[in-house]
Amino acid sequence: MSENSKYRELFVQEALEHVENLSQNLLKYEEDPNSKELVDNLFRSAHSLKGMAATMDYNQILEICKSIEEIFDRFRQNEEKITVETGNVLFYGIDLIKQLVQDEKKTIDLQEFLNYLKDPNSFQVDIELRSVSQKTSPIVRVRMDNLDAIMNLVGEMMISKIRLEQNVHLHMSDETREIVTNLGSLITELQHKMMHIRLVPIDQMFNRFSRMIRDISSSLGKEIKLEMNGSGIELDRSVLDAIGDPLLHMLRNSVDHGIETPDVRKAVGKPEVGTIRLRAIRKGNKVEIQVTDDGRGMDLESIKSKAIEKNIVTQDQVEKMSDEDVICLIGTPGLSTAKEVTEISGRGVGMDVVMTQVRNFGGHVKILTEKGMGTTIILTMPLSLAIIGGLVANIGDQKFILPLSSIFTTLTIDRNEILYAHGKEMVKLGDQIIPILRTSAILGINPVIETSENDQVHIVVVEKNEKYYGLIVDSLEKEQEIVVKKIDNSFGGSDAFTDASILSDGRVALILEPSILI
């Protein structure tokens, strides 16, 4: 048991995700019992949870998962169809799992559950309760700052709970421990509910754009069809606000400089009506927003001459650049000013502003363009800014949080695997050799003294402008959900830090956006 206790927190976090997934998808599956995808998903969740419970020696969870996994397998093989009664028992089982996950000391009547599963008709559910919960509830409008205030309070509660735990840690009775654990899971649940409240469908924002596109295109004598697909994705309100302006800018660029006038399009054999496609795709805990037009593409030559004119690069450098490198120039501050946007015939101006804003919110911009064929700009953003996935890194005696959305991968290597080239430290990453940087030196922190030659080196690999960089940290802790708190920067702190969070030991840690260090 003691061997496993260090995994407890991680287990609870991931197990609750599976519980949530099971109950949501079971609801959907009841309505759509022919969906192979849903039943596969249910089976997989039960199966994963079973493996996790077995690893933790949680036998009650293991047994429930095993029994419901078998039922899902029978559904999957079409040996049995889901009925309302079986559904009731399955929901009951999922509730039991949830209780057992939250309280490791709880015992349940396992045999009773297994009997219900064998004979679902013998199980009495509080029918009234379920039929009420399935109705759509009325909607109330709430001011965003009120939500923010509650979110903050939830964060404060979490900190108080941690302090309470530490204060009573030494002389905690079993009962106190149980109450504190229960309090912790209640706060976590509250936090999740709060996050959910802050979600807004992305289509709501997309719809705002159609009128604008119509107006601008008609004033320019262009015909443009806007195709939008938000795929039902919901984003945290703060993310939506953060990408509103950049998206607007990108769309205007497409209308203004990308799509040609109908006569030009006709002359080059394209349909007279241009198309701009706006699409959102969910990728894990990120959302990818693509803006694609079938216009003339970016004029790389004019970007090159502009960059030379502005002394950003020299003629020699430009000649050695690949097309991708030239596209990256668009992100260089100072390449253009907003005033020139409408004066220049080529595209890709003002993009540095877009890129900077997106990066400030932990996002990432990728541009694909082909002359004569059009341009695609891909914005990748975290789903939520209020709560992010983060990796806690120790640098010297300090702890920093690195957002998972900024990390490509992590490496642990032996110290003697560090390579040296031109006086710089490098490391092998697959087929590539990438530069590594000593984060402690950049931040001016004394690193932990390197004791033996055989020491392992921990490296966080981040991507910037399509290139990989390694950041050396002293050690890495586990991934966790981080509640982001804005720092009041009026005391003139560094630009690298605008956010902080409170760790589970109650310490404040700064959130470090790695791309700023490179």
């Binding site: 995994y7 991680l10 991931e14 077995a54 690893t55 991968t409 642990t412």
Partner: protein, 127 residues
């Protein structure tokens, strides 16, 4: 018993919890010098292509491509790839399928630490 040198691992499992448990075992037995991770079958194949790890541990039940599909894709890239399947106790038929498809060995969840170390050592040394 431990194998020193630089052995690169790729751990494939959709549960980050299981990845961390397995990673801890590999590290505490000094089996790995570099560890990459992937959370589904498609990511596993992509990561394999990119980093050519020496040993892959592959969970069977995963979203997108499942472990068997990913195993086949990886063997398509490198027929000599060393892939160790990770399965639950009762999935005997899956293990048989995987071994027929070219998996080198298998380990069973929940992990028995000495056994995991034994199997991994055997696979690292195999040709």
């Amino acid at each position: 018993m431990s194998v020193s040198g630089s052995v690169k691992f790729l751990i494939v499992d959709d549960a980050s919890f299981m990845r961390i448990v397995l990673k801890d075992i590999l590290i505490s037995h000094s089996l790995a010098s570099q560890i990459y991770e992937a959370g589904d079958g498609l990511a596993a194949v992509e990561t394999y292509k990119k980093f050519k790890p020496d040993v892959v541990t592959m969970d069977v039940n995963m979203p997108k491509a499942d472990g068997i599909q990913a195993l086949k894709s990886i063997l398509g890239i490198n027929p000599r790839a060393k892939v160790v399947m990770v399965t639950a106790v009762e999935q005997k038929h899956v293990i048989q399928d995987a071994m027929k498809s070219g998996a080198r060995d298998y380990i069973i969840k929940p992990f028995d630490r000495p056994n995991v170390s034994l199997v991994i050592n055997r696979v690292i040394r195999s040709r």
